[in-house]
């Protein structure tokens, strides 16, 4: 009876049906299912039995508690699961009074408590079980997670998110052209999420073009937004990218939650980078980000504290001429 071990993420191609986590998913949902971990949603008060308990005892628990499976655990260590199917077979086979140890399933699919719930969603789609035991890093049984657990928390978080978005909408309408143009958008940026890196900047550019903002200025804003978004993605623990347009000025604000920049002046130079080889192989990390954003902005401000995070603000005059700085050779 081997110790059940966590599986690696199931093949993406195998999943189907759930319209969450693909190219079409809103960034907000992507961010949620990455940010929320299984420990945030799982049920911790577990009913378990020991190996020496009987199958009959398991059946009683399932009947009283209205669930379909009982984990078999001792001292926090998971040994197996007895399911309703196992009970039915035991009743038919006449061994309902045998120990759980004799008949429990030991080939288990488990999840880890610090996995994002996006993993759980895929597991539910691929494995067709109703629930999965959850183990901590040191393989202790810490909870159990069902689809209901996920639904409950998602619903709660999405409601909060929608409330936040609605508050944005009830601000002055995003309307007007030229000096009267008002827009406010904020996008989450997830650490090392290279699939979606740049999406927010693409959105920002699209919005500015739709509003007929001058092409030259739009390009500068888009470049700054993109560079800053990639920076958050590569170098930080995650953060947000926002655009505020008001009274003829566009501002791009990039905020992250850490780790902070030790030498801000060094980081703002051309060619300096803390990116590793893997990141470079993806096409990023040539160390231009901050220098480039600074160069294309009319006004550039950066604040950073180690372990607290970094906030960068780039301002663009939507009316005036291009900035005086010449691009460096």
């Amino acid at each position: 009876m081997s110790d059940p071990a966590p599986n690696t993420e199931p093949d993406k191609a195998a999943s189907s049906g759930i319209p969450v986590g693909g190219e079409t998913s809103p960034l907000v949902i992507m961010e949620l299912i990455q940010r929320l971990k299984i420990r945030d949603v799982m049920t911790r008060n577990l009913v378990t039995l020991t190996r020496e308990d009987t199958m009959r005892r398991a059946q009683e628990l399932m009947r009283i508690g209205h669930f379909n499976g009982v984990p078999i655990a001792e001292n926090g260590r998971l040994y197996g699961i007895v399911s309703i199917d196992d009970i039915i077979r035991a009743l038919i086979g006449g061994y309902i009074d045998d120990t759980c140890a004799k008949h429990m399933s030991t080939h288990l699919i488990v999840l880890e408590d610090d996995m994002p719930i996006s993993f759980a969603l895929r597991y539910f789609e691929n494995y067709k079980y109703g629930r999965f035991p959850v183990l901590s890093r040191d393989r202790a049984l810490v909870g159990i997670v069902s689809q209901r657990d996920i639904n409950r928390v998602l619903l709660y978080e999405l409601t909060a998110e929608i409330n936040r978005l609605e508050r944005q909408i009830t601000r002055p309408p995003e309307d007007g052209i030229g000096d009267d143009l008002y827009m406010l958008r904020e996008y989450p940026v997830v650490r090392h999420d290279f699939e979606n890196a740049g999406k927010a900047a693409n959105e920002i550019k699209r919005l500015l073009r739709e509003r007929n903002v001058d092409t030259r200025v739009t390009r500068r804003i888009a470049v700054a937004a993109y560079e800053l978004e990639i920076n958050i993605c590569i170098h930080s623990h995650g953060g947000t990218l926002a655009m505020i347009v008001s009274k003829g000025v566009a501002e791009i604000v990039a905020k992250d939650t850490g780790p902070g920049i030790e030498d801000v002046e060094w980081a703002c130079q051309d060619g300096t980078s803390t990116a590793n080889d893997w990141i470079r192989s993806l096409g990023f990390g040539a160390g231009m980000g901050l220098a480039n954003s600074k160069r294309v902005s009319d006004h550039f401000e950066i604040k950073s504290a180690l372990d607290k995070g970094t906030t960068i603000r780039c301002k663009f005059d939507l009316r005036g001429p291009a900035p005086q700085q010449e691009p460096s050779p």
Binding site: D277, S281, G283, P329
Partner: protein, 114 residues
């Protein structure tokens, strides 16, 4: 062509000479070192802006005789040293990768112009 001819073709400067008898028979433009290792033809000149020491390691693995570093990108000291030690030449040019590729292609005359 020789490295001197190569430098002339792309309006470049030889910063580190390649091995004396180095003959360049083809060009390969790439900034992705994995791509260079997988696809670069034999006896090629690598056209790139990757100005760091890893480029030299890849050149020795892929049998690249000379690296043409574009856009006037500065060559760091460790890259120079590695190149000299491995007998890989470094030519610096102000041209872009596109311009350098075209110029070298023309000079080689083996490049497929139609």
């Amino acid at each position: 062509m020789t490295q001197d001819a190569l430098a002339a073709a792309c309006s470049g400067q030889i910063l580190v000479p390649a091995l004396a008898d180095a003959e360049i028979a083809a060009g390969y433009a790439s900034d992705m070192l994995s791509d260079v290792m997988a696809n670069a033809p034999d006896a090629a000149a690598l056209i790139t802006i990757q100005n760091h020491v890893n480029t030299i390691a890849v050149c020795t693995l892929a049998n690249i005789r000379v690296v043409v570093v574009c856009h006037g990108r500065p060559i760091p000291e460790d890259m120079r040293k590695a190149a000299a030690a491995e007998g890989v030449g470094i030519i610096s040019t102000d041209l872009s990768q596109f311009e350098a590729s075209c110029a070298i292609g023309k000079a080689l005359e083996g490049g497929a112009c139609a």
